[in-house]
C-alpha cells in the first residue's frame, strides 16, 4: 500500500487571548484545534463537519500553513510540511490550493477576473504566451460554468454565487493534487450547487484531486464524501466511511447533528434533537469529554476522562458509551 497523500498527526492550534491594562498580556488560550489526526488519500474526499467555531477552517488553513500550527505534524507527499523553508513551501503549495469560506473577502476587488484566476498561473509561470494565459483562464471559467465574456469584469459585478465560482476556478488553475474547500458551495443556490459538486467530482475522476471538504451541508457531504470526520470543539469525535456514518452514527454529537438537518418539506416539521446546555467555547473547554455538558447520555466518567478516538467495527469514535443511533435516541431528553 502506498502512503496517503496527506498525513496529519496530533495537530493543535491555540490562539492567545490578550488582555490586561495594555491589552497585550496573554490571559488565556483559545484552543481552536486540539489534537486532530487524519489521513487523506490521493483522489479521496474527506469531509470535515461540525458546529460553527469548532475549528474546521483553522484546521484547513493549517494544512497549507496559512495558519501556523502550535504543535503537530503534517506530511504531504512524504515531505514534512512544517519543516519546509519558505521557497520549498512555495513550490509545494502549487499542489495544494484552498477555496475560502467567504467569497467576498477572498477576491481582490481591484483585480479583473482574468487576473484573479491567472494569479496561480503567474506565480508558477504556467504559460508560454499572453494568449495562452487568456485561453487557460477562459477554459477554467468555462469549467466552472462562467462565460469567458466575464474575463474583463471585476468581482463586484458578480453575485455571491458567481464569485464563489471564480474562486474555484482560481484554485483549479495550477493543477493541484489537493484542494481544501472551505464551504465551497454554501453560497450557491441548489441548482448551481449541484453543478459545482458534480464538477468537483468530475475533476476528481479526471485528475485524481483529493479534497478536504469543509461543509455543514450534510446532504452535499453525503453526496460527495468518501469519508467523513466530525469535529466538536477542536477535536475529532467520529471518523467513518460515508454510508457507515449516515446509516448508524455512533457519537451522540453526530446523532444530534444528523437529526437537525432541515427537510425541504413544510409538512414535515423538523423532529430533531435540539442540543441544550451551555454552548461550548474553545476558550473555556470543559474537562473530560468536550461534549459532556450537552450530551444526553453523559455519565460521571465523561466529566472526568477524555475519551480517546477508538476503533469500533472499522470506524473511529471518541465516546465512552458509543453505540449506534437507535440505542442513543431512546434517551434524548435534555438533562
Amino acid at each position: 500500500m502506498t502512503a496517503p497523500l496527506l498525513q496529519v498527526h496530533e495537530l493543535t492550534k491555540h490562539f492567545p487571548i490578550t488582555g490586561g491594562p495594555a491589552g497585550i498580556r496573554t490571559i488565556g488560550q483559545v484552543r481552536a484545534v486540539d489534537g486532530v489526526s487524519f489521513n487523506l488519500a490521493e483522489g479521496e474526499t474527506l469531509a470535515l463537519v461540525g458546529e460553527s467555531g469548532c475549528g474546521k477552517s483553522t484546521t484547513g488553513r493549517m494544512l497549507l500553513r496559512l495558519t501556523e500550527p502550535t504543535t503537530g505534524r503534517i506530511a504531504f507527499s512524504g515531505d514534512d510540511l512544517l519543516s519546509l523553508g519558505h521557497s520549498a513551501l512555495r513550490r509545494r503549495r502549487r499542489e495544494m490550493q484552498i477555496v475560502f469560506q467567504d467569497p467576498y473577502a477572498s477576491l481582490s476587488p481591484r483585480q479583473r477576473v482574468e487576473d484573479i484566476v491567472a494569479e496561480p498561473l503567474d506565480v508558477y509561470r504556467l504559460y508560454a504566451s499572453h494568449g495562452e494565459r487568456r485561453d487557460r483562464v477562459a477554459e477554467l471559467l468555462r469549467l466552472v460554468g462562467l462565460d469567458a465574456a466575464h474575463l474583463r469584469r471585476y468581482p463586484f459585478e458578480f453575485s455571491g454565487g458567481q464569485r464563489q465560482r471564480i474562486a474555484i476556478a482560481r484554485a483549479l488553475a495550477p493543477g493541484p493534487k489537493m484542494i481544501v474547500a472551505d464551504e465551497p458551495v454554501s453560497a450557491l443556490d441548489v441548482s448551481i450547487r449541484s453543478q459545482v459538486v458534480n464538477l468537483l467530482q468530475d475533476l476528481q475522476e479526471r485528475f485524481g484531486i483529493a479534497y478536504l471538504f469543509i461543509s455543514h451541508d450534510l446532504a452535499v457531504v453525503r453526496h460527495i464524501a468518501h469519508r467523513i470526520a466530525v469535529m466538536y470543539l477542536g477535536r475529532l469525535v467520529e471518523l467513518a466511511d460515508r454510508d457507515a456514518l449516515f446509516d448508524a452514527p455512533h457519537h451522540p454529537y453526530t446523532q444530534a447533528l444528523l437529526s437537525a438537518v432541515p427537510v425541504p418539506d413544510p409538512e414535515r416539521k423538523r423532529a430533531g434533537i435540539i442540543l441544550r446546555g451551555d454552548v461550548p467555547s474553545p476558550a473555556r473547554v470543559p474537562p473530560g469529554c468536550h461534549f459532556h455538558p450537552r450530551c444526553p447520555i453523559a455519565q460521571d466518567l465523561c466529566r472526568e476522562s477524555v475519551p480517546p478516538l477508538r476503533d469500533i467495527g472499522g470506524r473511529s469514535v471518541a465516546c465512552h458509551f458509543a453505540a449506534p443511533f437507535p440505542i442513543a435516541t431512546a434517551s434524548t431528553s435534555p438533562r
Binding site: 490562539f15 458567481q162 458534480n198 455543514h216 435540539i274
Partner: protein
C-alpha cells in the same frame, strides 16, 4: 383587511454600466403583513440581493437606480423618501442582515462596540448599558462565550460567529421588518436551527415581519409563510409555502425543487437544471427561462408570460398555465 406592512409594486432596479444596462430587478411585486414572513428564492444572480437592498434604498448607486415602482412601507413610499427620513428608518423600523457579514462589520472595532453603537443609534442608553445589551444579543444568537466575542475583532471570529454577530446587530433594535439575506448559509445545522427559532420567536412575540432570502429550500419550508420565486430579475411564481412545495407550477420552480439533494436519495450525480442563468447583458426574448425549459413552445420564445393567479392564492408566469 388591514393594510400590509410592506407592499412592493412593479419595482425595477437597473444597473447602468459601461457595458450596457443590467435589468437586475425587472417588475417585481409582493406584499407582506406584520408578523408574517416571506421567502425569496432563485438562482444565483437572479436579483434577490438587489431587491432586498432597494427596500432600504441601499443599492449601490451608481451604477444602480430604481427606475420605477413603489415600495409602500408602513404608510410611506420608500422610493420617494429623503435621506434624513431614510436614515431614521434604517436599522430602526427596518433592519437588514447582509449576505456578506464583512460589509456590516468594521474590521478595526471590536464586535461589542459595533453592536452597542447600533443600539445607541436608535435609543437612549449609556455606553455601559449598550455594551451589556450587545453581550445579551450575542448570547441570544447562540454565541458561546458572548463576552469574549464582544471583545474580539471580526477576523478573530469563525465565519459562523461573524454571521451571528451581524444578526445580533440587526435584532438589537427590534425592527418592524427584518430583511435577512442568506442569514444562515455560514451556519451549521444545529446553530441554524437556533437562529431560525430565534427569528420565529421575534415574529411571534414582537410581530416582526421577515423577508428571508436563501438558497436553502429546507430553511424556506421551515420558516416562511409565502414564497416568491425569482428568475433573471422577475417573479416567476408566488405561492403559500405548502402549496409551493406540494404543487410547484412554474417549470423553473419544479426544477429547483428537483435539484434539492436529500439525505435519503442516493444518486451518482446531483440533479441540476440544465444550462445557466442568462447573461445579464443579453436576456433572451420572450420568457427568460425558455432556453432551459423542457416544455418551451413558440410563444415562449417571443412573448413574455404574464403572472396569472392560480385561483388558490398563488400566481405563476408560464404560458403553459395560461
Amino acid at each position: 383587511m388591514s393594510e400590509p406592512l410592506l407592499a412592493v409594486d412593479d419595482l425595477r432596479v437597473h444597473l447602468f454600466t459601461n457595458r450596457g444596462v443590467v435589468r437586475a430587478v425587472d417588475g417585481v411585486g409582493f406584499a407582506l403583513s406584520a408578523g408574517k414572513s416571506l421567502g425569496i428564492v432563485g438562482e444565483s444572480g437572479c436579483g434577490k440581493t438587489m431587491t432586498a437592498l432597494s427596500l432600504m434604498r441601499l443599492i449601490p448607486s451608481p451604477p444602480a437606480r430604481i427606475v420605477s415602482g413603489r415600495i409602500m412601507f408602513d404608510g410611506e413610499d420608500v422610493v420617494a423618501l429623503d435621506e434624513p427620513r431614510l436614515r431614521a428608518l434604517r436599522g430602526n423600523a427596518m433592519a437588514m442582515i447582509y449576505q456578506d457579514p464583512m460589509t456590516t462589520l468594521n474590521p478595526v472595532f471590536n464586535v461589542g462596540e459595533q453592536i452597542a453603537e447600533a443600539v445607541r443609534l436608535h435609543r437612549q442608553a449609556s455606553r455601559a448599558a449598550a455594551l451589556a445589551r450587545a453581550v445579551e444579543m450575542l448570547e441570544l444568537v447562540g454565541i458561546p462565550d458572548p463576552a469574549r466575542c464582544a471583545q474580539s475583532y471580526p477576523h478573530q471570529l469563525s465565519g459562523g460567529m461573524r454571521q451571528r454577530a451581524v444578526i445580533a446587530m440587526a435584532l438589537a433594535c427590534h425592527p418592524k421588518l427584518l430583511i435577512a439575506d442568506e442569514p444562515t448559509t455560514a451556519l451549521d445545522v444545529t446553530i441554524q436551527a437556533q437562529v431560525l427559532d430565534l427569528m420565529r420567536r421575534l415574529q411571534r412575540e414582537l410581530g416582526t415581519a421577515i423577508i428571508l432570502i436563501t438558497h436553502d429550500l429546507g430553511v424556506i419550508a421551515d420558516l416562511v409563510d409565502t414564497v416568491v420565486v425569482m428568475y433573471a430579475g422577475k417573479v416567476v411564481e408566488r405561492a403559500p409555502v405548502r402549496q409551493l412545495f406540494a404543487v410547484p407550477r412554474h417549470p423553473y420552480t419544479q426544477g429547483l425543487l428537483r435539484s434539492v439533494p436529500s439525505l435519503e436519495t442516493r444518486e451518482h450525480r446531483m440533479r441540476t437544471i440544465e444550462g445557466t442563468v442568462p447573461s445579464a447583458y443579453a436576456m433572451p426574448q420572450g420568457c427568460r427561462f425558455h432556453p432551459r425549459c423542457g416544455i418551451a413552445r413558440d410563444v415562449c420564445r417571443t412573448d413574455e408570460p404574464p403572472l396569472v393567479p392560480d385561483g388558490v392564492g398563488g400566481e405563476a408566469a408560464c404560458w403553459a398555465l395560461v
